[in-house]
Symmetry: C2
Subunit: 498 residues, 2 copies
């Protein structure tokens, strides 16, 4: 392409847009990881201003003209895929008026801050009005996109997190899981109860020692410190940009096991970002494909690779050394029992692999009802508690450990939750294909060598960027589109036969 | 004013501009305090993009029209002062073409990063080509502004840091100091040599203990942790925005005294930012008046208040406790000898009050020559070393401790240096007026109570924002415009009679 082609000019525009989005990502990380509380108001103004600027950049009238003109230009496959992603992003942005974009950026920032204190105080009443106002704005966005795309409002939101994601297909996949999980869970728990229980792994585990162990594990997982860092935040996440990935965790002195796996989880996200195609930095086709593949990478690290007996055997002596502990509780066999324990609980992020999908199915149903207008925020605690009782047989004693436990809705993310379980399915499918394709991967993991695994993931997943659909990536890597079979087989193998 | 007046619309525009500038300030802090090295390239793109956006915002054609229209509207004094500052900022921005703004943002970012490694390796040759390229761009800016304002190129740069600052007046003030300092320095050193030397205060002082002491001093100085934080960076600075002030320091295990006073220095900057007029947040008139008053506040804390015998007597037991040290070296009398020691040295930021102005005079002369085109970067080391020999009688053994010691030029700041010594003069003038006006200030400092001092500074300096000129603020607070008398009297009192 010449430098003056419409396509080249679009690349310039989107490179600049990417810089603004990258700046926004740093501001979000800063808010969560280091910002003093009193900075919230002005930070909200900064985020709202940059969000509006990004929106103005992508909705500028010239963009529509350039997209139309570029469509007539001959393009190689990657530029063609980039143009397709440019168009997709542009359609999402132009569907929503600028004042709504600014309003929702401000409202979600404020609601998220309110959520922090409301959750700490178990005070749903203080969160509800702000969350309802935010939901009202989200529903306006959903309606606008639904009209523009000819989709249902919920699918229109979902499509932003997972291109081509549709609730009809999710219903089918979740129905398959829903039919499978209760019986599996009962059998796993029955089997578990017949065995001696895991010995308790009891704190305190000093935060400094946990941090040092986490840094050691980052090295094992090939986390590139020249291009990323680990910090602490209220809700763990992966932020930043591919060349400067910011992951966070939170430490509790009483328990190192959750934070440790949390760090591994975020490292999976970080490795996806780091592995995105370098020549396409700053272009839409160079971005992660969507949240399903993103979550597949975090869960591939956390659930597939790092809860294998092989990795836990590697991990056990590191744990003993980090906390200066001895005895049978810190042997690999017991740590594996801890990490493979299945027990319905209140908190999604602490849930085991078998129970986790039920948490997601609940949130998926509730957010669909909220977006459809069938569920008001004021009625959320009741609906939540009923759903928990039906799906997992437990009733939350508080909203803090119930419908207020997640940051997503207060942060304005509706349509995101199903990608967790779709990602778990993709992770099982990819890990099975990877270990089948390269016999060195599992022995590597057993020795703390993740290079063979990464060597397979880079070309098969990470370096695809957004040049293919999620299903195309999965078919290329595993031979099949997204399905439940590998995930179900994985759960049976680990929890019934492991 | 009605919401639709031209003035009101200008306020909206500048509020948004301020949000972008605040985001830039966070990105700069992040680069210096937490960013992994591999993030530099993409961060450069982010900073360049936001700098260009800010420039586009302020140079948009509507701004010129709105300024013209607002000038015909009846305005109260503060809005009128705000309009005047808006016009000043607009004139500075419109004088420079957009591509030059973007080029200089990128080049100064890259040069600053090169400087970090070049300084560490004492490798001026690796810095020189980048610094020369940056200087070429800065000279283009200076030429453009000079033409627009009818000023000399150097004064045109100076005016951005210090509104109304002119080298003719600086020459006069610096000549007065230049005539006074050599003799003073000789007398101080003669007197000092006749007294027993300060006992050495010898490390190691663990970084964690230094950090804890710094946090304790922040409390003493009324640093508001809900609106600010202290971190570590290569070159200490104050960044962020008034409601989220980020100060930094660097710790050396061998010596706590420099970092401690460095933290006090940055806290003075931070208090100025925090005290800026709250109703004018996000508007130009709500900004700090300029670098002379900014530096006056950091030096008022560091040099005027916290090197008094009263404060050092308060500080000494905190130092003993922080590092678990005893003995005569840690008594107030000896710490005062340490903090009042006069000795010509290589490094500006470590210089004592008596020698510091000579460091500034050297930089002022060199940067004027560079901007005038009379000094090439390649010739800077030689000119630097000659100047050091002439002004302070010492010759740097390396460029790292010579012309590469400061971040300013690699960061693109030319015209900034003189404000340090002008600030020192203003600090002496203000502290003399404050302690004369309120007899409770010094006894408060003796007890670690800075509320009386802040109670005077808030209305007399901080809350003026940019509603008055530097001289107007000084006349209102001290009865006189900026001069050398109070500074000279302070030096004589402390170093000849103290």
């Amino acid at each position: 392409m010449t430098a003056n082609s419409a396509y080249s000019r679009l690349e310039d525009r989107f490179r600049r847009l990417s810089a603004v989005q990258g700046a926004l990502s740093v501001l979000h990380w800063d808010s969560a990881a280091v910002m003093p509380a009193g900075g919230a108001e002005v930070r909200g103004e900064q985020i709202a201003a940059l969000s509006l600027i990004a929106h103005e950049q992508i909705t500028a009238p010239e963009i529509a003209d350039l997209i139309e003109a570029a469509a007539t230009e001959p393009l190689e496959p990657w530029p063609a895929a980039n143009l397709s992603e440019i168009r997709r992003n542009w359609r999402h942005a132009t569907a929503v008026p600028a004042d709504l974009v600014e309003a929702i950026a401000r409202q979600s920032h404020e609601t998220e801050l309110t959520w922090r204190s409301a959750r700490a105080a178990n005070d749903f009443a203080s969160l509800a009005p702000r969350l309802q106002s935010l939901l009202d704005l989200v529903r306006q966005v959903a309606a606008a996109k639904a009209e523009a795309f000819g989709l249902s409002p919920y699918d229109a939101l979902l499509d932003e997190y997972e291109a081509g994601g549709r609730s009809a297909r999710i219903d089918q996949l979740f129905d398959e899981l829903g039919a499978f999980l209760p019986d599996l869970r009962a059998r796993v728990i029955e089997r578990q109860n017949a065995l001696p229980p895991a010995l308790p792994v009891e704190g305190p585990f000093p935060v400094e020692a946990q941090r040092a162990l986490a840094e050691r594990i980052l090295d094992v997982l090939q986390f590139d410190r020249a291009h990323g860092r680990l910090d602490v935040s209220h809700h763990p996440f992966t932020g930043g940009v591919p060349d400067d990935v910011r992951i966070t965790t939170r430490y509790a002195e009483a328990d190192f096991t959750r934070s440790l796996m949390g760090v591994i989880h975020e490292t999976g996200h970080a490795q996806y970002e780091r592995g995105l195609p370098k020549p396409w930095r700053g272009q839409p086709v160079g971005n992660a494909r969507g949240m399903v593949l993103h979550e597949s990478q975090s869960l591939l690290f956390e659930m597939q690779a790092c809860r294998t007996p092989e990795f836990i055997a590697f991990l056990a002596p590191l744990v003993r050394s980090a906390f200066d502990r001895r005895g049978p509780a810190y042997e690999a066999a017991n740590l594996q029992r801890v990490y493979h324990r299945v027990s319905p609980g209140l908190i999604r992020v602490d849930a085991d692999e078998v129970c986790y999908p039920s948490h997601v199915i609940l949130r998926y149903r509730l957010e669909r009802a909220m977006i459809a207008g069938d569920l008001k925020v004021a009625d959320l605690p009741g609906a939540w508690n009923e759903g928990m009782a039906a799906l997992l047989g437990i009733t939350p004693p508080s909203d803090a450990d119930g419908c207020m436990q997640d940051i997503h809705w207060p942060g304005g993310s509706f349509g995101y939750f199903p990608t967790y379980t779709l990602g778990a399915m993709a992770a099982a499918q990819l890990f099975a294909a990877a270990t089948a394709a390269d016999g060195a991967i599992l022995p590597g993991i057993a020795q703390g060598d993740f290079k063979p695994l990464l060597a397979w993931l880079r070309p098969h997943v990470h370096e695809k960027g957004s040049s293919q659909t999620t299903d195309e990536v999965l078919i290329g890597a595993t031979g099949l589109p997204l399905g439940t079979a590998a995930f179900k087989a994985h759960l049976e193998r680990r929890y019934l036969n492991g």
